[in-house]
Assembly symmetry: C2
Homo-oligomer: 418 residues x 2
Amino acid sequence: VTEPVATTAARSLPWGPADRSNLVPLEGGVTAVDGIRAAGIVAGLKPSGAPDLALVDAGRPVAAAVTTTTNLVKAAPCVVTEEHVADGRARAVVINAGNANACTGSRGLSDARETARLVAESLGCAPDEVVPLSTGIIGVPMPMDRIVTAIPALVDDLDDDEAAAERAARAIITTDTVTKRFAVEVSDDAGRCRIAGFAKGAGMIEPAMATMLAVLVTDAPLSGPVLPKLLGQAVARTFNRISVDGCGSTNDTVVLLATGTAQRPPSLGAMQTGLEAVCADLAHAIVADGEGTSKVCALTVGGAATEADAERLARAVTGSVLFRAAVHGADPNWGRILAAMGGAGVAFDPDRVTVRCGGITVCRFGTATAFDRGQAAAALSGPQVTIEVDLGIGERHATMLCADLTPQYVADNAYYTT
Amino acid sequence: VTEPVATTAARSLPWGPADRSNLVPLEGGVTAVDGIRAAGIVAGLKPSGAPDLALVDAGRPVAAAVTTTTNLVKAAPCVVTEEHVADGRARAVVINAGNANACTGSRGLSDARETARLVAESLGCAPDEVVPLSTGIIGVPMPMDRIVTAIPALVDDLDDDEAAAERAARAIITTDTVTKRFAVEVSDDAGRCRIAGFAKGAGMIEPAMATMLAVLVTDAPLSGPVLPKLLGQAVARTFNRISVDGCGSTNDTVVLLATGTAQRPPSLGAMQTGLEAVCADLAHAIVADGEGTSKVCALTVGGAATEADAERLARAVTGSVLFRAAVHGADPNWGRILAAMGGAGVAFDPDRVTVRCGGITVCRFGTATAFDRGQAAAALSGPQVTIEVDLGIGERHATMLCADLTPQYVADNAYYTT
């Protein structure tokens, strides 16, 4: 059974770059970028027997950047990934699902290093050109015998067509119900390039599976300090502004490889927009496919003095289980929004706040309007809902994307499969 | 129908003062303290027609202290309560349920002041001797006509027996299923005094009902700076260390009246222990009666350098919906505990952390032990569960009390009753 591929429903929300006129969506995944091969096979790490080991190979060392979890409890592969990308270069990314290699002590670190070394040996490159990522259960040592056995077959599986991109995207998912891959061509007067990526989300039927991973590739000639800067900006406004359950992970990682084969690339601004667009689509796909999710909510806090204030307030709202339960119930419950913002540690004047649910103003100057409850509930009833908060102070805004909180989410996460 | 009274199940948990040898539980509620009268009637603020207006009267101005919500969005009665207790004295507390008088602008402030003035007029005292508290729906103006009509009957209802204490405790509850009142006699070689209180919890079937209120009384001769200090200490370790859903409210308030009629009071330390015990019992009762709660978890972080560090880490864990879902499922999921602590912004060494679930060590030095999953699950299966985290750094600890996250909680909070 091939899982369906995530759609681009994100584009009906105020999410990602507003202007996509320089972007053309492409079929395929990472292999849409010239020179990129991908693979995905069964290594036997998932009890289900589903594919669980993926590889992306640029064929030679290229410019690379990475962002990993800010969690103090950082999984071994995150540590090794940071070491291997410290020089701004990498060739390949190996990703396993089924075991997070987190809370595994010094053995975990040597297992992650050994995985990179084994892949490098098969590819014929240096160990620090391979970046290892993991997702899965926390606190269980990696079954290295299965990794050792699988790596030759994994390298054999590398190919440059869409089917290979799909195999890789499929091998990294855990409780995701769809594979998540997007690609765009970016073009303007200066030229063109491609940007592609795939990701897995934060569903967690098995315990402690709480990781989002993404691998991005581009043929844009980006390297040096600009590459981590562009990646950091795109991640800050996309992957770092989604919340399925407000729980940070030990393994979150986004890796970007830039091959530089695009001979006439577009402007830096266009590339930045393209990167943010791919990240936004992947991030949306993660939320939409979150455990128990029945709808996606884009919550924008605007009229703020700074974007940081807007983000902090938006994060406080989307982190509120009461707010997310109200989203599930299509309840225009603006009181919960104000109460959540009031605890965020950001100064604002409640008497200047306006709240709109699906375009309907339910609160103006901090008190209730005479809105039609049925109409407001209807505006919050679709699979994609929009809520806007205007602080009435300044001109900055930030949007967070969150999943609703459903009884199914709780049921799925309550029981350990002993 | 009289709701049952909350029990003292808290005492089976590591919660509240460890040494209760100077304390004797008393029947009754606030009227167990000499000179205190209480009342509770139907004012017509709750659609259900249940009692919704309560009064506690000390008969004359006495020493008073208050702690209110730290939320920036502070309800009008919290503002007026702080004004009226600013001089360290109060005579009476009037509490309504069914309407929070929050997000109601300048009209809300004048409504809260008018409520205090009307009660003062009926009692024959100054308006600033009356403290007004509210809980209920946010953003709806207070129906003052019903308050005006009800106040003479409320004052007529005042009495000094246990039935009156129960009427008051009952009139302030909203979605609580039990009334919450406790009283103790504190005695040592120096003498004796009584401390009593009642509270309402944070259940919320109606939207935006997210308030905890408590009224405490004592005959201890406490006044001046020591009274707010003692109250602050007791609240910091009890009411401020509980979490039903991690959502702060606009109306949270704890008021303490000290009549000073105890002629030979016990030592200050004994009184402090007594006050913390009553607060701990009320706080536990609030969690145990939280919306959808099926069990109460005491999560202790120990081995910390400071109590503030321990509290911050414990709060991060009990604020994690994944952790609270695991508590519901009796899942010894220590990976979620470490992941939650890692995001708390407190320095610790994951490799020194030990986690015990119901006394069973499931993680030692940051990695899994070979524990028996069935045994650990059994230890987490009762209505009162204990989880201990040892950081292995220092000697300080803090305990948070939280409710499990249940599908019922989500269902109860998702739908607006239009």
